[in-house]
């Protein structure tokens, strides 16, 4: 098995190679704001160092959201095009699940991404299993639903009231190495039909639907 894992959903950019059981190479740019220019050169460099050719790959694993819309599209398009053109497997893993798994902690772990105006893309996991569902939700509502002592990962501050623990900085970002292992055995998705999960409609679309419902 030769896996290439890609995560471009947040401002972090992370790429990894794996044989399905071990992380063989991993590279993360933690303050990258230009995934468009950096993703493909990063993949190319890592593959060269590992002496892997594109044709050797057997599976692409992609973090499919939620996240920044543009980032998601860069990763999703790269992943689906590679899987289609190399005729190999494509598997997708939730970005929130990846964030939770990247903390390396068991028990209750909540992953949150700031989605502005006091809202977040968020989900709660217990020992890696999703509790409830991934949601676009107000931060206060989500926080109120969490058990005491939940470990928090992501860019939303829930320190007030001291009910929760914050993931240590070294484990507080999504890692493509973790992604590769999570996605090694996942069911595959069809490359052509694959789309990222934005978890939120485009603003114009939401307004249009609202107007339809009113009339």
């Amino acid at each position: 098995m030769k896996i290439l894992a890609i995560d471009t959903s947040t401002k972090r950019l992370s790429v990894a190679l794996s044989d399905g059981e071990n992380i063989l190479a991993e590279s993360s740019q933690l303050t990258s704001l230009n995934h468009a220019t950096k993703l493909m050169p990063l993949i190319e460099r890592m593959m060269q160092e590992m002496k892997w050719k594109a044709g050797d790959l057997t599976r692409i694993v992609i973090a499919d959201g939620p996240g920044s819309y543009t980032g998601l599209r860069i990763g999703a398009t790269t992943a689906k095009t590679l899987a289609y053109t190399l005729d190999i497997e494509l598997a997708a893993v939730s970005t929130l699940e990846l964030m939770a798994a990247s903390t390396g902690q068991s028990g209750f772990v909540a992953a949150l991404q700031d989605a502005r105006r006091g809202t977040a893309f968020a989900a709660l996991y217990e020992d890696g299993k999703l509790i409830g569902q991934e949601r676009h939700v107000t931060v206060s509502e989500f926080a109120a639903s969490l058990p005491d002592g939940t470990l928090i990962t992501g860019d939303v501050d829930l320190s007030e009231g001291n009910r929760f623990k914050k993931a240590p900085a070294a484990f507080d970002y999504p890692r493509a190495g973790v992604l590769a292992l999570l996605g090694a055995e996942r069911e595959t998705v069809a490359p052509h039909a694959f789309e990222p999960r934005y978890l939120r409609l485009a603003e114009a679309e939401a307004k249009w639907l609202e107007a339809q419902n009113e009339s």
Binding site: N34, A36, T37, K38, L39, M40, P41, I43, E44, A54, G55, Y69, T70, R73, I74, A76, T77, T78, K80, T81, L82, Y84, T85, L86, P191, H192, A193, E195, P196, Y198, A202, E203, A204, E205, W208
Partner: protein, 337 residues
Amino acid sequence: MTQPLILAIESSCDETAASVVRGGVDILSNVVSSQIESHKRFGGVVPEVASRHHVERVTYVIEEALSTADVTIEEVDAIAVTEGPGLVGALLVGISAAKALAFAHGKPLIGVHHIAGHIYANRLVGELEFPLVCLIASGGHTELIYMPEDGVYEVIGETRDDAAGEAYDKVARTLKLPYPGGPQIDRLAQSGKDTFRFPRIWLEKDSYDFSFSGLKSSVINAVHNAEQRGEKIVPEDLAASFQASVVEVLVGKAIRAAKDKGAKQLLLAGGVAANKGLRGALEAACKQEGIPLLTPPLALCGDNAAMIGAAAIHPYLAGRTSTLAMNAEPGLDLESK
């Protein structure tokens, strides 16, 4: 030497397109997936919606372009893609797909300027003879380009405010015509008369620049004034009057530029090149002046990838390839390409 095969991708606005072109001239396939039905409900292209559609469509379109052309990706010599200008989120989808293909199969990657593509749509119809002048008119652009030779561009005139196509869309909205308004105005204008005599905006005497916002305001005012007086506007006449003003200026400046520059050809390109009024007037003027006119067929006027494949041949043969660090350039400069 066998003619190079180029797989081209275009996603700068609301069409997801892929094409295989041989030697910059022969279209082996030209697949365009239009999103226009989706954007109609918004009355215009919504960038985020467009970008999402591109992701949904992009690999289907690529696969269809290859299978229709009956070539495999291994047989392709290079991957070309629109680098800019356009909607950044939309461009990035085509670019990400192109890079993935180039990387996966070790093919050179060629970034193409969208307007160069529109110009080279004409190369799919006939030989280009230099020097030439090209009039570009589309939803986003109104420009006069001088080309002394293959692959060299000089922007000698451009709009200072709205693009011609934008003015069409706004006037159409005033007349409550469905989106996209350009073809609707053109259709109405065919059966109307220039009764309003809107101003012709020529700007400075020797300028090749354009301005359409004043004309647009005149049209909107005419409609409002009529409404206030309780008069009925004949939409056909309003459309004909607006179109007459746009066409007279576009044709006048294009002909003057062609003569001043000693052009051997005048080219028409861009989505508005499909406009019957403009095509007719330009044909008549070129005939009168003895300037050979080249216009792409309607199918190649709007955004498509065949034109990107045609424009890519020159940089490909010159060895001007891009790296995998290529970015979307929403404001890409034509002269630097």
